[in-house]
């Protein structure tokens, strides 16, 4: 359940609440290389990801680690024709910009996992803003909390994950 939003928001931001924005496909089909690098980075020996027989038996073939869901929609650092760096969670950056809150931190992150993501999948993500608070003052400064989410589906339309983030955009104290 989303919190009630403040009533002093700019009309443009008010119009974003509960609206789907930035529906986009991942930049490349899901692949095993990042899975193996993540396993290496976390020294994770789970045979589900290293042993094809275990993967076949348990999950009908290879899958990616559920916790990697956000990896797949993070853009390349550079790509041809791009003049500005692309950022993940564009909605978060839009809020910083439109609300004139140049600093921001993420405080809470919840991910619910559904259909496993597999090598070869093409995913689509959609960002939704749920609420923006009134002005609050914390030890960081004065600003607003916002609650937004990312919904990820695969090429079959199966829901793979729902993420919820709480961000705090602020001007330094």
């Amino acid at each position: 359940m989303a919190a009630k939003s403040a009533d002093d928001l700019p009309e443009e931001v008010q119009g974003w609440i509960e609206q789907e924005r930035y529906t986009e496909a991942t930049e490349f089909p899901i692949e095993q290389g990042y899975v193996l690098t993540t396993l290496s980075a976390t020294q994770n020996g789970n045979p589900l990801y290293w042993d094809a027989k275990v993967a076949e038996e348990l999950t009908d073939g290879p899958i990616t680690l559920p916790s990697m869901v956000s990896v797949w929609f993070r853009p390349h650092d550079w790509s041809p024709g791009r003049t500005e760096p692309a950022v993940p969670l564009q909605l978060h950056f839009d809020l910083k910009d439109r609300l004139s809150l140049p600093e921001a931190v993420m405080s809470d992150n919840t991910i619910v996992f559904y259909e496993p993501i597999r090598p070869g999948d093409v995913l689509t993500t959609t960002q939704v803003l749920y609420s923006v608070s009134g002005l609050k003052t914390t030890k960081l400064g004065t600003g607003r909390f916002w609650d937004f989410g990312v919904r990820t589906v695969n090429q079959h339309g199966d829901l793979c994950a729902e993420e919820r983030y709480t961000g705090f955009g602020y001007n330094r104290a």
């Binding site: 990042y34 976390t42 559920p66 559904y114």
Partner: protein, 158 residues
């Protein structure tokens, strides 16, 4: 990696075995690159200390999520299927820190199709610092022949 954990092996209040890992610069950089996180505070010492006022480069959140998953599946074995994870960042993890993952079972709940939900509260600390609080829900089988990974649609409601 533990042998396959069954729900009958788990009770509320039980501790999940502690995991400790020394963080090196490569731990931070490899984790950031594996999670496609190119932000400079995860690989550029001068930026992290000069622009962000940090003590050093820091572990990034998406890679920490995979450390939490590894911590849980070390305990459950490969049939453990993560259903939900929630974390709150409290302090940064730097090279030279020893990450300490310590979890406690807070709920065990029978579900359908021969599996149970196990809720675990995990604290990631480094020395005196409490760095990340995490609440996770993972499905484990009730019997050796059950497999939470086979559940789909309405049968999988984490």
């Amino acid at each position: 990696m533990s042998a396959e954990l069954l729900s009958s092996d788990v009770s509320v209040g039980a501790d999940v075995p502690v995991l400790e890992k020394l963080v090196k610069p490569v731990t931070v950089v490899l984790g950031a690159m594996a999670s496609r996180d190119w932000r400079p505070q995860h690989h550029d010492y001068k930026f992290a200390t000069g622009n962000n006022g940090l003590e050093d480069i820091i572990m990034n959140t998406p890679n920490l999520a995979s450390w939490f998953e590894r911590y849980l599946t070390d305990w459950t074995g490969p049939k453990g299927r993560l259903g939900r994870i929630k974390f709150r960042m409290k302090d940064s993890v730097y090279p030279g820190d020893t990450m300490r993952f310590a979890g406690k079972v807070t709920n065990v709940e029978a579900a359908a199709h021969g599996m149970s939900w196990v809720d675990v509260s995990i604290e990631l600390s480094a020395g005196d610092k409490s760095c990340v609080g995490c609440e996770a829900r993972i499905a484990v089988p009730d019997t050796a022949d059950a497999n939470p990974w086979k559940l789909k649609g309405d049968d999988w409601k984490p």
